[in-house]
Each structure stands twice: as structure tokens, then as C-alpha cells.
């Protein structure tokens, strides 16, 4: 996992979403916590965590997906897999160049063959 905020490298033991001080670091001085009351929500910490999630998603999912032209060829990509599943549900595959296009005739289901009934004379 890449750390994008320029902070010190993190320990491999720390989860990617952890926004607290690095393991083994000195606790921050009391004034750095401002006037926050004990037990209050740490808004700044949550924002920093959210920013890390977005960065992670961009780096791990969106950037690789931007190079995928045909979703059916990238089963290991979460977005491609979702697009294929959703496309199958609605009966069409989204095109790579914008709005969904008409399905080629080969994708329309073949008509059932006629099952002829044996007829006898009374």
C-alpha cells in the first residue's frame, strides 16, 4: 500500500485505513489535539481516512480499469466484472465509447424450433 500524504512509511502491521500515529511513535503533544473534548468525534481524522480510501480506490481499481477496453476480458477487475454482470441483467453489454449500443443480432436468443405433433386419422 502506498502512502500518499508524504508521512513516514508505515509498518506492515498497520491496516491501510489506519490514520493514527505510526506504530512506536511518540504521542502527540497535548496542544496538537486542540480543544477537543475527550470522547468527541475526531472529524479531521475521519476526513484523512476517507481521503486515504479514495486514494486507494483510485490507485488499485480506477487507474488499472481505465485501460480496459472490453470488460469481458478482465474478470479480475472489479468494475469490469460489475459491468458484465449488470450488462447481462439488462440484456445488453455497455460499449466502451459511451452510451450502450444495440446488441448485435447474434446476441438475440434463437427462436425455439417448432415441435411438430404426430397426427393420426380417427
Amino acid at each position: 500500500m502506498t502512502d500518499h500524504d508524504g508521512a513516514a512509511p508505515r509498518s506492515p502491521d498497520e491496516p491501510w485505513w489506519y490514520s493514527g500515529p505510526p506504530h512506536g511513535a511518540e504521542p502527540p503533544p497535548a496542544e496538537s489535539q486542540g480543544s477537543q473534548e475527550p470522547g468527541a468525534i475526531d472529524w479531521m481524522g475521519m476526513l484523512a481516512g476517507a481521503a486515504r480510501m479514495v486514494d486507494w480506490a483510485r490507485g488499485a481499481v480506477l487507474d488499472p480499469h481505465s485501460e480496459h477496453a472490453d470488460p469481458t476480458e478482465h474478470a479480475d477487475c472489479m468494475i469490469c466484472r460489475t459491468l458484465v454482470v449488470v450488462g447481462d441483467q439488462v440484456g445488453m453489454t455497455p460499449g466502451a465509447d459511451g452510451p450502450p449500443s444495440a446488441p448485435p443480432s447474434a446476441e438475440a436468443p434463437e427462436p425455439d424450433p417448432i415441435r411438430w405433433i404426430p397426427l393420426h386419422d380417427r
Partner: protein
Amino acid sequence: MSRIVIMAGVGGAGTTSLVDATVRDARSTGASVRSIDAAEPQRSLALDLSALVSATIGSMAVSSGADRLAPEAWASLPGVRILAVLDEMRRACLEEDVVVVDAGSLVTLRELLELPHVLLRLLDASLTPRSAMARPDSGALFDSLSEARLQVLHLQSVLTSDSTSVRLVGRAEADGIDPVVAAAGTASLLGLTVDGVILARFPRRRDGASDRVRKQARRVEAVLQAALLHVPVWRSSDRPRSAPKGRAVLDVLAPANAVAPLGEPVAAGDGYRWDLRMPGEVAQRVRAGTQGGALVLECRGVHRWLELPAVLKRCVAVDGERTEGGLSLRWVPDADVWPRADREERGVDD
């Protein structure tokens, strides 16, 4: 609903003279009568239909990348002319008591009767969720197709009304039998009642016809009458006769003989029986099958699709019998969609 008589005949039989006689005799009853010539439908109506075709087939072509064409470009398609005849019939029914259609040849008659069925199959196949969602601008096309389907259904209801019938004009010659019998079968299969066959220019002694020719003509008349049971076959001569002796020209001259289900399926044995009415000649030649939720009937290359009753959509057709009055089809529950029947058959308790 107005009385509609559709007339058609073998080449050279004198169909137009008999159409004129039918119109004249109908007017003599005091009814208002419109005569329609299938060879010359009103051009203005044909143009309206061109706009409809342009909005449906044309739009489908455009959505596949084709260039757009002006509505007039579609007017000369053969199907559009037939559609114009059907639409002229529909409009005439709103204004007149009687409508007499001169379909001309038996080929044109078949096109006239078959076109609504074909269009409905095509439109039903086009009106799918896939086509509705395939393009962002497909809403207008979908609406046009839905509107076209309603209009075709209306045309078909005019054709298959109880007050619509087909009268065929034949010649009292050996090679004139099969075309008339085939046309009668096609009309019945497509849901119309055939209520008369007129043997035009029937040879008479007073016209100098030989005994051999008159004998052959009587034999043709007998064969036709036997093939088309309950349908009156009558002779016409230099003086065209629009109806058999003792009958009024506007009567429906024969009992209903259009192919149609005889009510709902009935329980029989371990399944169901479903009877269909059809003339003997059709019953002898017809093939029956199932496709999706429909019963398919085929006779002489003409197909008709009948929606299956709900219960039979969950059954499998086993076999059928050709009866005096038509077909009797036998069905058993489909174990794949009727698991209870399957379990009971195998003796498995719930």
C-alpha cells in the same frame, strides 16, 4: 360491423363481372355499398401508410446505421399496397353497410389475408425489452411500433369478423379445382369463412356446349362440392349470378368454417384435450406444432400462430387426431414446469 364480401378467382374466370353483379344486387336491397379494387387502392391512403412504414421499418434501419428515406420512397413496396387495401376496407366499414372487395387473383387474396398475420409476428418480435433499452433514442421508435401493432390488429379484426366472408370464382374445368380448394383452405386457416364458390361461364346446351364438356363441368362441380363440404357451389353464366337460387346476396351463405379453437381445453385422462374446428380439406393436410407459447398450424406453406390457453403452456402436446370437424390434440402436464405432477407420477410424497 358492415358486411364485407371479398371476392377472388382463377385467371380469366370473370371475377370482375361477378364483383359488379354482387355490388349491383347489394345496392338493389337499399344498402349503401362501397366497391374496392385491390389493384388500385386509394393513393392518398397508401401515402399515409408509407409514413407509418417509414416511422417503423425506416426508423429501425436508421438505428442500424442506414440513411433516412422520405416516406414516399416506401409507397411502392408491394406490402404497402396490400396494407392500403386493408386500410381502405377498414375506413369503408365506418361509412357503408356493405363493402365488396375485388381481390382479383387468388395470389393477391392470399397476400391480403396473410399480411396482417405476418406483420403481427414481426411487430411482436420487435417489441422486446431489449429493443426498448438498446438505444437512448429508441422511445419514439418503440411507440411507433406499438401504434403500428394496434393498427394491424384492427385491420385483422375487420378481416376475421363474423360478417366478413370470402367468395371464390372458379372455372368448371379439371385444372380449376385445386387452386380453388387451396385458396379456400388458406382463407379458413387464416381465420376467414368461405361462404361460396361460383363456377363462372358454366357450359350450357343452349350456348352450344358439347355433352362431353357439360359432363366434365358437372364432374368438376361435384368434386368441388365434396371437397368444400357445407360451402355452396353454384353456376353462373353469361348473366352473372351473385348468389345461389333462393339465397340473398348479402347472406353469409355457409356455416362458420374458419379455423378456430372449439372452446377451452377439457380434462381428459391424465391430461387435456383441445379441439380445433377446421374444414375437412384443411384437416387432412394440416401440420400442427408448438413453438414457445403458441400452437403453429401449417397448410400448403401458410402458417398461423394461435396463442395457447394458459394451462396448455405448461403442458406437452402428445399427439392429435384428424376428426370430421377438425383436429383434436392431446396434452399432458410438462414435468419440468409442473413438478407436482412429476412427483405424483413417481409416487413421491410431499
